[in-house]
């Protein structure tokens, strides 16, 4: 699975990069790499079986009073 993931990302780079380099769109290149890295960083641990904390925890913590009010009590 990790190998497959790396392959997929390599494929995406292979499809994306040449066009950008040819057009010398370096800003775009940076943005693309940023998102690809983010995607890779988020997916690799999952594929390897680590449990990442959900980003929702922060939101849940902040909105706890309201969500407690909203929780159905039966």
């Amino acid at each position: 699975m990790p190998v497959l993931l790396v392959l997929v990302f390599l494929l995406i780079i292979f499809l994306e990069a040449p066009g950008l380099i040819k057009k010398k769109w370096w800003r775009e290149m940076i943005a693309v790499s940023f998102f690809l890295l983010l995607g890779f960083a988020l997916s690799l641990p999952q594929v390897l079986g680590f449990e990442l904390p959900s980003p929702n925890i922060v939101i849940e913590a902040i909105f706890k009073p309201i969500s407690d009010w909203l929780r159905v009590t039966t």
């Binding site: 499809l15 790499s33 940023f34 998102f35 929702n56 909203l70």
Partner: protein, 366 residues
């Protein structure tokens, strides 16, 4: 401009309607019935009214800068870096929202139709289709949506009519049984969805006639509201409030109840069509908004190279967000709506509008 497509007001209305309907008809009747029980329709009407307000707020703000999107004009209003921050927040919100929707999409397919299939399959398929649509641009998916929306609305209405025979409208009685507080609570979830109409702040610069944006927002909310009302009333009349609140995806169960002269049975497929097409359009809209937003924030020449990388983020984020479906539902019921409404659908637009009005600045006129 990054996106060279222009859409008509009708296309924009259709786009927003599909976007909201898709998720609303599936989950909301059950969530609302949890609080307001047979008075769910009351909650929905309240939500429609609030949705109209939000739409008005978003369009008023957007029309002050008719040639800019919400990723750009905060810079004019708040100054460069705070403005960029607001734009960035919106990009993140669209990404997050989209990941949630994609997760819902997968969960729905897995729960209702193909429990043996891993959820990642549906996520991958839908994200790649959405990427294809996004790359084709606003005009193309708006046009495709002009085919999908009539299909979706037609299906909902036909399902309603077919199920009419099994409905018992006594279930809606007694009216006004729920406490006002519960009605209010019930209104928050649909309101969170109606509030997604705030995405019109991204669409306004691409409208043929930006002046009609007010109408677009209002019509979209009314269309979805009407359909949701029909759906919720039908479902409650079919099952009674006790069962509706117990079920995960009540509309699906409603469709399964339909028996027409022992010939047509189990119309789940129709629900699947509604959800798969509608959900796809919704995901595409936010996908496009996120890609466009990042490109506008970073002042890129094109948003298209970003689409596939953003897709990888969406896929990994959507599998990361929730460990299981009850966590997803809990989040959608009690955390997401207040979060979305308070911060992004009402809060930030209100802030931007106030500052803009106070400083008396506005963009080009149309």
């Amino acid at each position: 401009m990054l996106e060279d497509g222009r859409i008509s007001s009708r296309q924009a209305t259709f786009l927003m309607s599909t976007m909201i309907i898709a998720t609303v008809v599936l989950f909301v009747p059950s969530i609302t019935a949890k609080y307001a029980r047979q008075d769910a329709w009351l909650s929905i009407i309240a939500a429609i009214l609030a949705g109209l307000l939000i739409a008005r707020l978003a369009t008023t703000l957007g029309l002050r800068y008719p040639d800019k999107s919400i990723f750009e004009y905060p810079e004019d209003i708040l100054g460069k870096w705070p403005g960029k921050l607001v734009g960035l927040l919106y990009v993140c919100w669209f990404l997050h929202l989209n990941a949630e929707v994609i997760r819902e999409y997968g969960s729905f397919m897995v729960t209702a139709f193909m429990p043996e299939t891993p959820i990642i399959v549906f996520i991958l398929v839908v994200v790649s289709i959405a990427a294809y649509a996004t790359i084709n641009g606003l005009e193309v998916f708006s046009r495709a949506n002009e085919i999908f929306l009539p299909l979706i609305v037609g299906s909902v209405i036909i399902l309603f009519i077919l199920a009419l025979g099994q409905m018992n409208f006594h279930m809606l009685l007694p009216m006004f049984d729920a406490e006002p507080e519960d009605v209010l609570k019930g209104a928050i979830a649909p309101e969170g969805w109606f509030g997604e109409v705030a995405v019109i702040t991204v669409l306004i610069p691409y409208l043929n006639k930006p002046r009609e944006a007010h109408r677009v927002g209002a019509l979209a909310v009314l269309t979805c509201g009407g359909l949701l009302l029909l759906d919720a009333v039908g479902i409650i009349a079919l099952f009674g409030p006790n069962l509706v609140e117990a079920w995960l995806i009540t509309t699906l169960n409603g469709a399964r109840m339909i028996i027409v002269a022992s010939f047509i049975e189990r119309l789940e497929a129709v629900i699947m069509i509604i959800w798969v097409t509608g959900g796809l359009i919704k995901i595409t809209v936010f996908y496009w908004a996120a890609a466009l937003g990042s490109a506008q924030l970073l002042k890129l020449k094109d948003y298209r190279p970003l689409v596939v990388p953003i897709g990888t983020v969406l896929v990994s984020l959507s599998t990361l967000l929730h460990p299981n479906i009850s966590d997803l539902l809990q989040f959608l019921t009690s955390v997401w709506p207040p979060y979305a409404i308070i911060v992004f659908e009402a809060g930030l637009p209100l802030l931007l509008l106030t500052v803009s009005l106070a400083r008396g600045i506005r963009g080009a006129r149309v």
